[in-house]
Amino acid sequence: MKIKKSKSTWLPAENVKNALEERRLLLQASENLPLWQTPPDFTQQVMARIFPIRVPLSAWLTAAYAGFGSIILAIFILLLVAGQNFSSLLTSLNYSLWNFVRNLSPVFVKLFKVASLFVKTLQQFFEYIIKAFASLTTIINPQVQIIIITIAIILIAFSIYGIKRKILIGEKT
């Protein structure tokens, strides 16, 4: 009878011991899970996305000058090899350059005219808006004007807040 009783209290203690041992082993296994590896060029990939390589303008210009210069030089050499006279070559080059400038000048004049017309149109448009707004303020009474302005300010504030929130999602720190 006595042995039976001690066995019945002994068994739960054994179970607790087993349960604790099981958890200890599970923990041990969990702490040694294999690590995921990043590719060897991962850092470079991230850096390239953060700091995209920008070629300076001077490098582009140098390349353009060099290219243009080489083409001119190649044409000169080709024409000299073909038996052209150097002085007549210079004269014809000068002539064609002058023609090029002469043909291009009307285009520049037209472009200038279009630009000035565009500026004038914009000016007239804004003048019209200002006039319309001024006449509107004389028609609507001041209280209504205040209400409209207040609503507009609230709407603008909410839209700015909304845009800001959308941008900041994920960066809450």
């Binding site: 099981e22 969990s30 899970l33 991962f42 809450k172 720190t173």
Partner: protein, 189 residues
């Protein structure tokens, strides 16, 4: 120099325009971050993309970093928010646990009746594989804290700071994650 001060110095140098300093930050945190993100989203390629995105976000928000906080905690907070956004977009419920856990009391230890121990059935390497597979199937918020605790080896206090939750809630969540994994392993065994 301690890791915390080292990080702060690297951040300061990055803000001053020293690219190499941020490169060092990436080198230091790429693996812990990949392991956290990877285990949370479950796909290697996606995890690599997300890790890159988190570093980009971190770089663009460096000016808002407050030196009184630990950099690693701040970095993982950005990563955690990034993943929450991903779950939100995928319509995965990542928030239900927050409402459930109001008290921080730990649930009692479940003692099995005479049943043979699951860990005794498997070799340790097999057990690891099974844990890995089971981890993918437990709820995302539990998986997140389990990874932080056992793979990234964060303290409960650090995890609480990242999630903005009480330490007790985090402890509870880690315990739930472990118990859930154990129960699932038992079911499969």
């Amino acid at each position: 120099m301690s890791s915390m001060n080292e990080d702060k110095e690297l951040v300061e140098r990055t803000i001053k325009g020293e690219k190499e300093a941020f490169e060092m930050i990436i080198q230091k945190y790429q693996q812990p971050l990949l392991n956290y993100i990877g285990r949370t989203v479950g796909e290697h390629e996606l995890a690599l993309d997300f890790t890159q995105e988190v570093f980009i976000k971190t770089y663009s928000s460096l000016h808002s970093y407050k030196p009184q906080y630990k950099f690693s905690t701040w970095l993982f907070k950005i990563a955690s928010n990034f993943i929450i956004d991903y779950w939100r977009k995928k319509k995965i419920d990542a928030f239900s646990l927050d409402q459930q856990e109001q008290d921080s009391d730990l649930p009692p230890l479940q003692v099995p009746d005479k049943e043979p121990s699951i860990v005794k059935k498997f070799e340790i390497s097999e057990l690891r594989e099974r844990i890995e597979r089971t981890l993918e199937k437990i709820p995302a918020p539990l998986r997140e804290v389990f990874v932080w605790r056992h793979i990234n080896e964060f303290s409960y206090e650090e995890m609480a700071e990242i999630k903005g939750l009480p330490v007790g809630t985090i402890k509870n969540r880690v315990f739930q994650a472990r118990e859930l994994i154990r129960t699932r392993l038992e079911e499969k065994a």
